[in-house]
C-alpha cells in the first residue's frame, strides 16, 4: 500500500530514458569512410560492449526513476500484530480570528505549516485525519455549461443548479423536480456562454482515519479561513468519537489554534480519557494593538415611514490592548450617499455608542451597513455591521364622515384628517388621506385606497357593507371609530367586524394598556408610553371580541378599547370610542395622533410573509418558510441573492430543509434577500428579478471572534477532562512525538537522487569534453 499513491504516476517517467535511449540509438550517424580495412572485429566487439553498457545504464536509470516514484509514494506494509501505531486527529482552527496577520502572514498559514510538519513525520502505518473547527461552504461548485449538463443528465445531481443570466440569476432545484425529462431538457436549453455553477449538498461521508497522507496534504492546502465562528467543542467531540473507534496503541489529538478564550468555555468534552492531547498555540500575541470592532447596531424604529427619521445606534468596542486612534464610522443605506461620523479614540477594553441619524427611504426596506473605515487593527473581519430598516410606503386612506350634514370641525373626520396630515418639522405625511360622505361610499373605487377609515359612521346600506367586505377580503385595511350613541344592532349587522357590540357605556374611562405582542400598536406603545392613559372618554361601546380577534388595547375597566380581526387577506380594527371631541376626549390627546397614524400605516402595510428574525449571525443560516402554496408542487424555483456594492443582486447557493428555504451556513456576512415564487419551468428564469415574497436578512459576524484574549491552561484542561494535555508553542510543535514510520521511502528517494545526480554530473562532464 502507498501513502501518496498519486506519486505512482511518476513511474511513467521511465519512458523518458527509454525514449532517449531509442532516439539516441536511432541517431547513430551514418558516416561515409574511404575504407573499413583498418577496423576489425575487435572494434565491432567493443561496439557491442558499448551497447551492453548503454542498456545497463538504461536499466539503472529506469530502476532509479522507479525507486524515486516508489519512494515519493511512500510504500508501507501494515505492521505485525501488537506493533505500536498512531491514530492522530489534527484539529485545525480555521475560524475568522485565524485571519489575523502576524509578521505579515495570516495565522492560518503558520498553523498550516505546523500541521504540514506533523504530516511529514507520520509513519506509513499511522492513520490521521484533519478536522476543521469552522465549517466551510457546503457547495462544490463546478463551472461550465458542458459540465453542468453532464452532471445533470448523467446523475440527476447535483441538488442545485445555479444559472447566472445576463441581468440576474436563478436557481433550479432538480431534487424537487419529479419530471427528470423536463429537467434535462432545461439543462440542454441553457444558452451557450451562460455561466453555470453547480452546487451539491448531498453531504459527504463522515470523517474517517486513512493512510492516504497525500489526501490530507491536499485537504490542508485547500483550507482557508472560514467566516463561520469556530466550534472547538464540537470538533473535539468529533475527534474523541473517532479515536474511540481506533484500536491503535497511540491515540492522539493535536489542536492547532490561536486559543481564543471564547473557544474554551462551556460544557467539558467527554470521551477523552487516556488520549494524548497536544494543544499547539499559534502566536496568540497578547500584546495585540488596537482592535476595533462593531459589536451591535440597533435602530430607533425597525419599521419607519417613508422619509421618517431613524437613529442607528452603533456599538463600537476596542478589543485590543492599546487605545485606538481616531477613525471614521461610515453608514451606507441602499448604496446611497455615505454618512461619515468621526470616532474619537477608544481606550482598550472600552465601548463607545455612536448614534447616526438617518432618514427612511427606498421601498419596503432599507439595507444598511456600518463600517469602521480607517481602522488600523489587524483584524478587519469585525469592522462592518449590516442592518436593515423596514420602510412603510405612504398609505392612501379614505376617511368616511359619519356626521351627516356637518361641516368644518363638526365633521367627524376632522380630527383624523388632522392626525394624518403633515406634521411640523418637514416630515412626510403618514398617509395620503381623502374624505367622503357616507352616502358617497358606494360610488368610491375602493381598490385605489389602502385603508378605509369610518369616522363615527353608524349606518351603512347593504351595498356599502358588501363593498367594504370585498375591499377588506382583497387585502385592504378598515379602521372604524365607533359612534357610542349608535344602537348595538346597527354595528352587529356588519359581518366583518372583529367584535360584537353588547351595549353602551356612559362612564369615564381611560386606555389602561396596550397588547405587548401586537405589531399594530407596538410602536404606539413604545413611543407614547404612559401618555396612552390620556386617551379618556365618557362614552364608549362595550365590545365582545370575536373568536379569532385580537384585543389591542383595553380600557381602565378591562373592556376592549381596540380590537383587531382578519377578514380574508385584510384586517379590520374597531375602536370602542369616538374620534370626535363631541363624544370623546381622544382627539385632543397627542397619543391620538400617534395612534391614528400608526394604525393607518399598519393596516396599509403589505402583508409580508416575513417570519425570520432580522438579526442573523454568520453560520446560523437564514431561512424562510415556504408556504404550502409554493412548496407543495414541483417544479419550483427559489432564489437567494446578495446585494452587491452597485445595488445589483448576485445569486447564491442555497438548499431546502423540509419546508424552509435555507441559506448555506457558510454565508459571509452581508445583506441577503430570500425570495420564493412558483414557476412553471425549471432552469433559467426568463425575467430576472426578485420573487413575490421577499425576506431581507442581515447577516453579521459573531462578536466572539473579536475577543482575542487567549485561553488559560486551566480553562483548556478543564475542557478536556481525562486527557493527557500538554501545551506547546508552534515552534516547539516539531518535538511532538508523532508517527511510528519506517524510513524505507527515504532510502529509496535518497538512493535514486544520488544515482541521478551522479548521472547528471557525468553527462555534464562528457558534454563539456565533447564540446
Amino acid at each position: 500500500m502507498f501513502l501518496n499513491a498519486a506519486f505512482l504516476i511518476g513511474i511513467s517517467a521511465i519512458a523518458v530514458p527509454i525514449v532517449i535511449h531509442l532516439i539516441h540509438r536511432q541517431r547513430y550517424p551514418d558516416r561515409a569512410f574511404p575504407t573499413l580495412r583498418f577496423f576489425d572485429k575487435t572494434i565491432k566487439h567493443n561496439v557491442i560492449q558499448r551497447r551492453l553498457i548503454d542498456r545497463l545504464l538504461l536499466l539503472l536509470r529506469v530502476v532509479a526513476l522507479i525507486c524515486l516514484a516508489l519512494g515519493l509514494s511512500r510504500p508501507f506494509w501494515h505492521g505485525s500484530v501488537g506493533e505500536r501505531r498512531t491514530s492522530l486527529v489534527i484539529l485545525l482552527d480555521n475560524s475568522p480570528s485565524m485571519a489575523r496577520r502576524h509578521d505579515g502572514k495570516p495565522l492560518l498559514d503558520q498553523a498550516k505549516a505546523t500541521v504540514a510538519g506533523m504530516l511529514d513525520r507520520l509513519g506509513p502505518g499511522d492513520r490521521a485525519e484533519i478536522l476543521l473547527t469552522s465549517g466551510t461552504a457546503p457547495s462544490a461548485p463546478a463551472s461550465g455549461k458542458r459540465l453542468a449538463q453532464e452532471l445533470v443528465l448523467r446523475d440527476g445531481e447535483p441538488t442545485a443548479m445555479l444559472v447566472s443570466g445576463p441581468k440576474g440569476a436563478a436557481l433550479s432545484v432538480p431534487g424537487m423536480t419529479s419530471d427528470a425529462a423536463r429537467l434535462q431538457s432545461a439543462a440542454r436549453a441553457i444558452p451557450d456562454g451562460t455561466p453555470v455553477t453547480l452546487a451539491s449538498y448531498s453531504g459527504g461521508s463522515a470523517a474517517e482515519f486513512g493512510y492516504d497522507h497525500g489526501r490530507l496534504r491536499a485537504l490542508l492546502d485547500s483550507v482557508a479561513v472560514s467566516s463561520i465562528p469556530g466550534n472547538m467543542q464540537a470538533a473535539v467531540s468529533s475527534a474523541a468519537e473517532m479515536l474511540s473507534r481506533s484500536g491503535d496503541g497511540d491515540r492522539r489529538v493535536v489542536i492547532v489554534s490561536d486559543l481564543q478564550a471564547a473557544d474554551w468555555r462551556g460544557e467539558p468534552t467527554s470521551g477523552l480519557a487516556g488520549i494524548d492531547v497536544n494543544v499547539v498555540s499559534i502566536e496568540p500575541d497578547p500584546a495585540v494593538g488596537p482592535n476595533l470592532a462593531i459589536d451591535d447596531c440597533t435602530v430607533s424604529r425597525p419599521l419607519a415611514g417613508l422619509g421618517q427619521e431613524v437613529a442607528a445606534s452603533v456599538t463600537l468596542h476596542n478589543y485590543g490592548s492599546q487605545a485606538s486612534g481616531q477613525s471614521t464610522l461610515r453608514v451606507v443605506a441602499d448604496a446611497g450617499v455615505p454618512i461619515d461620523t468621526k470616532i474619537p479614540a477608544i481606550p482598550p477594553r472600552a465601548s463607545l455608542l455612536v448614534a447616526v441619524p438617518m432618514r427612511a427611504s427606498g421601498h419596503d426596506h432599507m439595507l444598511c451597513s456600518a463600517t469602521i473605515v480607517n481602522a488600523t487593527d489587524p483584524f478587519a473581519y469585525d469592522n462592518t455591521w449590516y442592518f436593515q430598516i423596514g420602510v412603510r410606503p405612504p398609505v392612501t386612506a379614505l376617511c368616511v364622515n359619519g356626521a351627516v350634514g356637518a361641516t368644518g370641525a363638526d365633521k367627524s373626520t376632522f380630527f383624523v384628517m388632522n392626525a394624518l396630515a403633515t406634521r411640523g418639522g418637514g416630515s412626510a405625511p403618514s398617509a395620503d388621506a381623502r374624505e367622503c360622505e357616507t352616502e358617497e361610499l358606494k360610488n368610491q373605487k375602493l381598490f385605489q385606497y389602502g385603508v378605509v377609515l369610518l369616522a363615527d359612521v353608524t349606518s351603512l346600506d347593504a351595498d356599502a357593507r358588501q363593498k367594504l367586505r370585498q375591499f377588506v377580503s382583497d387585502g385592504g385595511g378598515l379602521l372604524i371609530f365607533a359612534n357610542p350613541n349608535a344602537a348595538a344592532s346597527e354595528y352587529n349587522g356588519w359581518d366583518f367586524l372583529p367584535a360584537r357590540v353588547t351595549g353602551q357605556k356612559k362612564a369615564f374611562q381611560y386606555v389602561r394598556s396596550m397588547a405587548e405582542k401586537a405589531t399594530a400598536v407596538a410602536d404606539v406603545r413604545r413611543r407614547a408610553g404612559s401618555t396612552v392613559s390620556a386617551l379618556t372618554s365618557n362614552e364608549s361601546l362595550a365590545l365582545e371580541p370575536a373568536e379569532n380577534a385580537t384585543v389591542l388595547a383595553r380600557f381602565s375597566d378591562g373592556l376592549p378599547a381596540l380590537v383587531e380581526g382578519r377578514v380574508g387577506k385584510g384586517r379590520v380594527i374597531l375602536a370602542a370610542a369616538s374620534c370626535h371631541v363631541s363624544r370623546s376626549d381622544w382627539p385632543l390627546q397627542p397619543a391620538f395622533v400617534l395612534l391614528v397614524r400608526e394604525l393607518v400605516q399598519n393596516l396599509g402595510a403589505n402583508n409580508a410573509s416575513a417570519a425570520i428574525g432580522s438579526r442573523q449571525i454568520v453560520g446560523d443560516g437564514a431561512a424562510m418558510a415556504i408556504s404550502a402554496e409554493h412548496g407543495g408542487g414541483t417544479p419550483e424555483l427559489f432564489r437567494v441573492a446578495t446585494q452587491a456594492g452597485d445595488g445589483s443582486y448576485q445569486a447564491l447557493a442555497w438548499y431546502r430543509r423540509n419546508d424552509r428555504l435555507v441559506m448555506p451556513e457558510a454565508a459571509e456576512s452581508g445583506q441577503y434577500l430570500l425570495a420564493v415564487r412558483p414557476d412553471p419551468a425549471p432552469g433559467l428564469l426568463a425575467e430576472p428579478g426578485l420573487g413575490a415574497d421577499i425576506v431581507p436578512v442581515s447577516v453579521n459576524h459573531d462578536a466572539r471572534e473579536s475577543d482575542l484574549t487567549p485561553a488559560t491552561a486551566g480553562s483548556i484542561e478543564k475542557q478536556l477532562p481525562g486527557a493527557r494535555v500538554s501545551l506547546e508553542t508552534a515552534t516547539a510543535a516539531g518535538v511532538i512525538d508523532i508517527g511510528s514510520g519506517r524510513d524505507l521511502w527515504r532510502w529509496l528517494v535518497t538512493g535514486a537522487l544520488i544515482f541521478l545526480l551522479c548521472e547528471g554530473v557525468i553527462a555534464w562532464r562528457w558534454a563539456s569534453e565533447s564540446s
Binding site: 547513430y28 550517424p29 551514418d30 558516416r31 561515409a32 569512410f33 574511404p34 575504407t35 573499413l36 580495412r37 583498418f38 577496423f39 575487435t42 572494434i43 565491432k44 567493443n46 561496439v47 558499448r50 565533447s770
Partner: protein
Amino acid sequence: MKIVGSRFLDPQILAKLPNLELAARKLVEGLFVGYHKSPDFGYSVEFVDHREYVQGDDLRTVDWRVWARKNKYFVKRFEMETQLKGTVLLDISRSMDFGENRMTKLSYGSYLAASIAYLLIHQNDMAGLVTFDDKIHDYLPARGGRLHLRTILHALSAVQPGPATDVPSICLRLADRIKSRGMVIVISDLLDDPARILRALQAFQHKKHDVAVFHVMDDAEIDLPYQELANFRDMESGRRLAVDPGAFRGKYTRRVGDFLREMREGCQRSNVDYHLVRTSTPLEAAIGKFMAFRAGRSR
C-alpha cells in the same frame, strides 16, 4: 577567353611555386630538343665517345683524326637534349571522394595533376593524363603545347568519382601501354594491398620510367578525430560497421601508420619517389616540396 578547367590552375597557387625547373632524374627519350638529356645520340656540342662506323652512318660524323692515326673508321657521338614526357595517373575511385575538410582527395589530386601538367608544358615538356578507378577512363598520351594542356584540364574538370579502385592492375596495364620512357606520376590514396601496388610500380621501373607517387590522404583518415559512435560505411563496397572511434583511435592510428610506413619503405626500396600528402597541406607547398626534391635528386 576562359579556358575550360582553368579552375585547376589557380594563379595564386602557381605564383607561389618556387623558381625551380622540373628536372628528370634520368634521361628520357623525346622527339624534340629540350632541356633534358636524351639517351639517344645526336647533334649537339657535347662529345660523348666514339664507335666503329657501320653502314648507313652519316659520313659527317666520321672522326677523320682517328682514321688518320689508326686507319679505322670511327664516328663521334654527342649528347642530345630532348623533351620530358610526364604522365599523370589520377585515381578517381569513390574512396577519393572523401574529405572532411573543404577539399576532397579527388579535388586535391585534380589540382595536383593540373599543376604538374601546367608546369611540364610551360617548360616545353610534354604532359599526359590517365584517370582510372578499376578501369581506365581517360587516356591522354603525353604531348606538348597549350592546346593539349586545355585538353588535360577539360578532362580533369569532367572527372566523376568511379566505383572501386584497382591500382595494381591499372599500373600493370599502363606499364605495357606507355612505350616511350618518361616520368610516371601516380596520384592516389593507394587503398589496396601494399605488396601488389609495389609490384605494379616496379613494372614501371622495369620499363625505365621515372616513377613518383603522391599518396593523398585526408586528416580524418589518419587521425580518426570522431567522438561519437557511428555506423561507418565503406565508400567503395558499401559495407557498414558500427564503430566507437573514441575507444579505438589509438589502435586505428597505429594500423594506418603501419600502412603508410610500409608504402613509404617499399617505394624507397623500389627507387620510387614517395610523397605522403594530406589534403590539409597547402597545394603549393606539396608541389614545391616535390619539385625541390626532384631538383636535389637530379644533381
